[in-house]
Every structure is written in structure tokens, then in C-alpha cells.
Symmetry: C2
Subunit: 319 residues, 2 copies
Amino acid sequence: MNEFEIIECFFKSAHPASNGGLALGIGDDAAIVNVPDDSELVISMDTLVSGVHFFADALPEDIAYKSLAVNLSDIAAMGASSRWISLSLTLPDQDLVWIEKFSSSFNQLAKEHGLVLIGGDLTKGPLSITVQIHGINPKGKSLRRSGANPGDSIYVSGKLGAAAYAFKSIEDNVLYPDATKEEIQRLHRPEARTKTGTTLRSIATSCIDISDGLFADLGHILKASKVGADIKLAEIPYSDSLKKLDKDKAIELALSGGDDYELCFTLPSGTPDAVLNELESICPIYCIGTITNQVSELSFLKENDEPYVIKTNAYRHFS
Amino acid sequence: MNEFEIIECFFKSAHPASNGGLALGIGDDAAIVNVPDDSELVISMDTLVSGVHFFADALPEDIAYKSLAVNLSDIAAMGASSRWISLSLTLPDQDLVWIEKFSSSFNQLAKEHGLVLIGGDLTKGPLSITVQIHGINPKGKSLRRSGANPGDSIYVSGKLGAAAYAFKSIEDNVLYPDATKEEIQRLHRPEARTKTGTTLRSIATSCIDISDGLFADLGHILKASKVGADIKLAEIPYSDSLKKLDKDKAIELALSGGDDYELCFTLPSGTPDAVLNELESICPIYCIGTITNQVSELSFLKENDEPYVIKTNAYRHFS
């Protein structure tokens, strides 16, 4: 099969242009999209490289899932609804069994989120996947990193550290034993907090998704908002996995392990209980601290309110 | 430097969010764009992989130029005006000299075309570049592959085969000797026909850019438009380079060498001379044949009107 036949067979048929308000889908030099007049367009792009962002022997179903989920997570962090995606797939060879598994998983997750694949590229080369995602929001309503104010409460959705534990366990099963199926799942198939994201749209003052670890990603909110934060270590929602480790190592993984794809967001003080309950009904949320006016100063406090010094730097995709 | 510092230093500073009607540029989970109400959004994405789409020892300036130019060419083929771009850059190591050269060339070409870089990704891995481009067109005015009608004249902008000759010459300097500087330039720095594209917007019945060779790309127009074509071999604008070859080889390179990035388009019979003159004033255009009602039948005719049988398949990026 040539490039066009593969796209036609494995991708185009699952994404009819009639879906999702498309004027023109896969199969021309470009796709054509009509963005509703009262909406702003929210655009993100993430690349996953074999051996860097996933293990070289990862399953095609998992690679597909994660490559789409991490993009969904970015749009969730903007409070937007995901709509259209482009996929650039670079493959070392034409393994139709691999492509079938990849495309089934990709198309399935896209369907679950009402996404339409509008185009992309298929090239020969070392395995990597780039997904570009388009979401929409009512004009002016997108969440940003820059809106946090002193006095705001800082929240995290879900628990932190499970994916990082699974990653470490696959790398070193002696130091990090017995990763559970659920932890492995968190690493390979992160669940983007899409519903939480759109619910936060008119509520949160800032939001980010935790891909590089809470330490680094909350740091981005502080920098963009020109504020600081006091975080209570005891309030951080540690994944159960981390109980297998000594305390310092557990804190390190929870704060800088990365790959959580939970949302970190700020809510004004006095946010009504009804709002918190609505958020809680979607997924657990945890208040971990408070925004301060100490610009870019991120303080972690032990239970006795003494400062705790982080021992590692955040995870970096490029170093 | 970490990922964020590299983006800040080499890319973000050259693309202020205040340009191009952006609501939010580089530096959040996603960019935010306001598409004008009377416009449709035209979206394309192309990936270039080292050793596949460019030589492994290609200059970073040339790689940057080509990775952007091929995307500009897609938007030109839709008759649209390019506006916003995202760049995913995968690099084997952190070579700041390489990155500086790449980014200078990329930012310069973007500036020349009024483009703003709105985001993307920077990852570690085998060298590859994915560019996603957004253009806009007045609603309903985008050119497509599907509008050609029997009786339309078929045109090509510029001359064909120079880039393919340069490619062959770099691979085999004996069979394909003496590639000129200009031919090499056509391969490394193709000129997207952006002005021709926007001028064709309200004139052409169909359009495509020639990336895989005239044979394959005109074939896409025929398939999408459910028509055929008679092409006069003698009217094809062969690049001067091809005079170095015997006739069959020259025709093969001109028709299926690829990497031309000229536009192939159809105009209704009776298109006024004034329109043709306007197009001619931008870049040379050549009428090479006529659309027929023989669905998907692409016939090449020799000077004596006898059929000519093409000896090769079109260039395939993935096989």
C-alpha cells in the first residue's frame, strides 16, 4: 500500500468530513474548518518520540492512545472543547499490523471525544508521532497560566506519581518493585481531564496540565501570573504507589516525576461549595496550598510548617 | 539551556504574540487565535525527516527553509493566505549553533510571509521537523482539487525537474553531472507560489501543489474532480537542467521527480487574457493541456499527437 492508500484505509474512513463542522477533511492540500463566530480557536501540538516519550517496545495501541491523550490534556488545561486533530506519523517500515492497531486505538479515543482527524502526514523514518489539536472556547473564556491571584487556593485533580512510579519500575524493578496494572495504565494511557477542564472554564483563575511534574508546572503558573505559592506537603494527593517508597523519594516522584496529566488550577478564595461539589462529582480534587505575592517563590511546607527543600529538578524532555 | 529557554531565546522573541491577530502566543498549554468572522481556516501539516526528505548533512538553514516552504506551498495551493505556524522540532542533541542557524532561517522566512509562530514542541530524538500551518480565505473561496471541469485548460507555474535533477546529481554525479547552484537551490529552498495561489483564488477551478511530481499530483486533481486530462509533452515547461539528459529520462524527471513545489491548476476555457497576464506578471505560467471527461485517464501526447507511455511510477514518500 502506498501513503495515500494507508491513510484512506486506516484513518480517513473513520473520520468522515461530514462530522464536526468540517468544510473539507482529509485528501486535499489542506483541510478547511469553519470556526463558529462566537468562538476562539485553541491550538496545541505535541510530539512523542520512540525511546524518549515511550519505550521502544511499547504497544501501538498505547502509543496511539498516549499521543492523543497528551494533546487532549493541553486543551483541557485551556478549559476548551477539543474538536479537530492532525496526525503526523513517522514509521520505520510499512508494518500494516502495527498500523492497524495504532489506528484502531487512535480512532477509538478520537471518537470518544468527538474529535475529527482532518489531515496530517505519513512519512518513513524513526518512529515518532506528532499530533496537532484544535479546540474551541467561547471568545475570551480560555483558561491561561497567567490569571492566578494572591489568596487563590491551589488545586490538583486526581493523584500524583503513579505514572512516574510505573516508569521507574520498568527501568529498575529492584528499586521500584511491583508496579500494578493500574500504575502501568496511568503511564501508557493517561486520562485527560477534559470534563474537569471545560467545567473550570468560567471558574478557575489559572490552569495548567501536569506533564513535567507539579514542581515545574506549578512553577509555570507562578511565573506567568507573577505570584508565589505555599504548598502543604501533607495535602498533596500522593498516589498509593508511592507508599512503597521512603518519604523523600515518594515526594520527589510526586513533585517531579512527570507524566501525570492531571490539572493544576487556582480558584478564588470563597469559591462556593456548590462549585467545588460539581468539580468533585467529575473527579477528585485536592486543595494543596495558597497563592502568595512572593513572585515565583514556590515553598513546600512540612506538617509543622517548616520549609521542605526539594531534592531534584523537574523532569526535562530536552536536556 | 532547557527546552523552555531554547524556545524563548531562539523562537519566541522573534514572534511577539501582538503580531498577526493572536490572542495568546507561545508559552501556555496552547495558543489562542481569533479567526475573522468572514473567513474559513485552512490547515495543513508536513513532516520532513532527516535522510528521507533531506540529506543527513543538509545545512540547518536549508532544512528550516524547506520545512516552512513546503507548508506555505500547501496553503498556496488552497488559494489561501498563510497566517500562523506551529513547529515541532526533534533534535538528536542540544547543538546551539545548529539551532541558531535553523531558527534564524525559519524566523526570516516566516517574517517575509507575515507568519507568526504560535507554538509547537521541542523534543530529543532523530532529526525531524513537523510544521503545521494555518491560512485563511474568505468563506467558501478556498481552492480544491475537486473543481476541474472538462474543457478547462491545465496550467503549471514555473518549470519542472530542476530539484529532482539536483537530488539525482547529489546521489550520482556521473549519471547526473554538473547540477548548478540554481538547481541545488530549487531542491533545498523551494519557492512557494504564495502570490500565484492567492491570485488564483477567484479564478481557478482546481489547484494542487506539485510535491510528488506532475504525474501523481495532476492525478489527484483528476480523481477528485472525476475527470481526465490530455497533456501535450511538448508544452511541459522542462527545466533547462533536463537538457543534460536523454529525452525519456528528462520527461521522467519532469513528470515524477517531485520536489518542484510549483502549482498545477485548471482555468475555465475563455479565461480572459487580462487574467492570464496578471498571473504571468507574478511568475511564468504554462498551459500544458486540457481536462477531458475520461474519468481519471491521464494521457500524454507526443508532438504528433501519438500517446506517450510513462516509464516510472510517481515518487512516493512512503513505500
